[in-house]
């Protein structure tokens, strides 16, 4: 199933990114199915799931480092990724085409070609 569409936003992101983001709005991505120590802001229920970049939020200190009292640098690009409920929960979702957007840091995402 193709990830849900995202409407192009008619404005520039308010929190600019210095580095070049790996992904652009509209790109299809897969959340890594990974684990690790620290304060991870990637919920389990989206790990391994395929979605579409909805927007670039900006670049922010890495929470997995901040949790240990470090400065979290270099900052990581943060995206909003849109998933269909069908992708997350399968056929018994409330309504398959409903969507969920979550903020995911770049190092948790990999490129995925359209199925």
């Amino acid at each position: 199933m193709t990830p849900p569409d995202v409407a192009p936003l008619p404005f520039a992101p308010p929190y600019p990114v210095q580095a070049t983001p790996r992904f652009s709005p509209g790109d299809i991505v897969r959340v890594l199915r990974a684990d690790g120590p620290g304060h991870i802001r990637t919920p389990w229920y989206v790990r391994g799931r395929i979605g579409r970049i909805e927007r670039i939020c900006g670049a922010f200190a890495n929470p997995e480092e901040l949790a240990y009292g470090r400065d979290g640098h270099p900052e990581r690009v943060l995206y909003r990724v849109r998933f269909s409920m069908q992708e997350l929960w399968g056929e018994d979702a409330d309504r398959l085409q409903d969507t969920l957007d979550a903020e995911i840091f770049e190092h948790w995402l990999e490129a995925r070609n359209a199925p």
Partner: protein, 214 residues
């Protein structure tokens, strides 16, 4: 805390009602930790008691009324609405909201789309704009079920959405905070922003309700 004079907590009050015992419970681990850290901060001169009290009062002074003013202005001022959707924090600052570190994303309800906010990992909430979150927002039930079965959760809040309406759940997982810009109710043409703001409830800005004319 024991009372400093006898007679409380037992028998009947002079007005003939039974006294209700205090519901004191032992401090939890985290309550003890908070008190210890706070006292250490004061003892080491990092913060004063006055500063801590002032910060508590600042937090308590925030309420959903601030968010309602922002929504009402967006309903009546299309240019403000465009700025609010483009950069929520900057648009809040225009309305004298103390934005601090708030990075606000505003999501707009339309006749075809309904948005609802949740934080599955903890209880992220736009406190600068809406004040403290309601207890249910922090409950495991709301946090886990809103991403899994949003339509059932919304129905329990009294919001039955048609099958043709697109539901968009937003999980506040990292640095952004969210505000739902509800649809302006029909029959409010010509209303002043202040009158409109009275229709905008906290729940409507979380997305578990929609504004209605009383």
């Amino acid at each position: 805390m024991p009372h400093d004079h006898p007679g409380h907590g037992q028998g009947m009050s002079p007005s003939g009602h039974p006294y209700r015992p205090d519901d004191d419970t032992p401090l939890s681990y985290w309550q003890r930790m908070e008190i210890a850290v706070r006292e250490l901060l004061v003892e080491k001169g990092i913060a004063t008691s006055d500063e801590i009290q002032a910060q508590i009062e600042r937090m308590d002074a925030r309420s959903p009324a601030m968010g309602a003013e922002v929504v009402a202005r967006a309903w009546t001022d299309p240019e403000y609405k465009a700025r609010l959707l483009a950069d929520g924090s900057a648009a809040c600052r225009e309305m004298d909201v103390e934005v601090d570190t708030l990075k606000l994303v505003v999501v707009e309800n339309t006749p075809a789309e309904h948005n609802v906010i949740v934080c599955t990992l903890c209880s992220c909430y736009p406190r600068n704009l809406l004040g403290l979150p309601p207890d249910w927002y922090k409950s495991r039930s709301y946090r886990s079920r809103t991403v899994r079965e949003p339509r059932k959760v919304l129905a329990e809040f009294g919001l039955d959405l048609p099958e043709t309406m697109q539901v968009r759940v937003h999980d506040s997982t990292a640095d952004m905070r969210y505000l739902v810009l509800p649809q302006r109710p029909a029959g409010t043409q010509g209303w002043e922003p202040k009158r409109l703001a009275a229709l905008v409830t906290r729940d409507a800005m979380i997305g578990v309700a929609v504004p209605r004319i009383a």
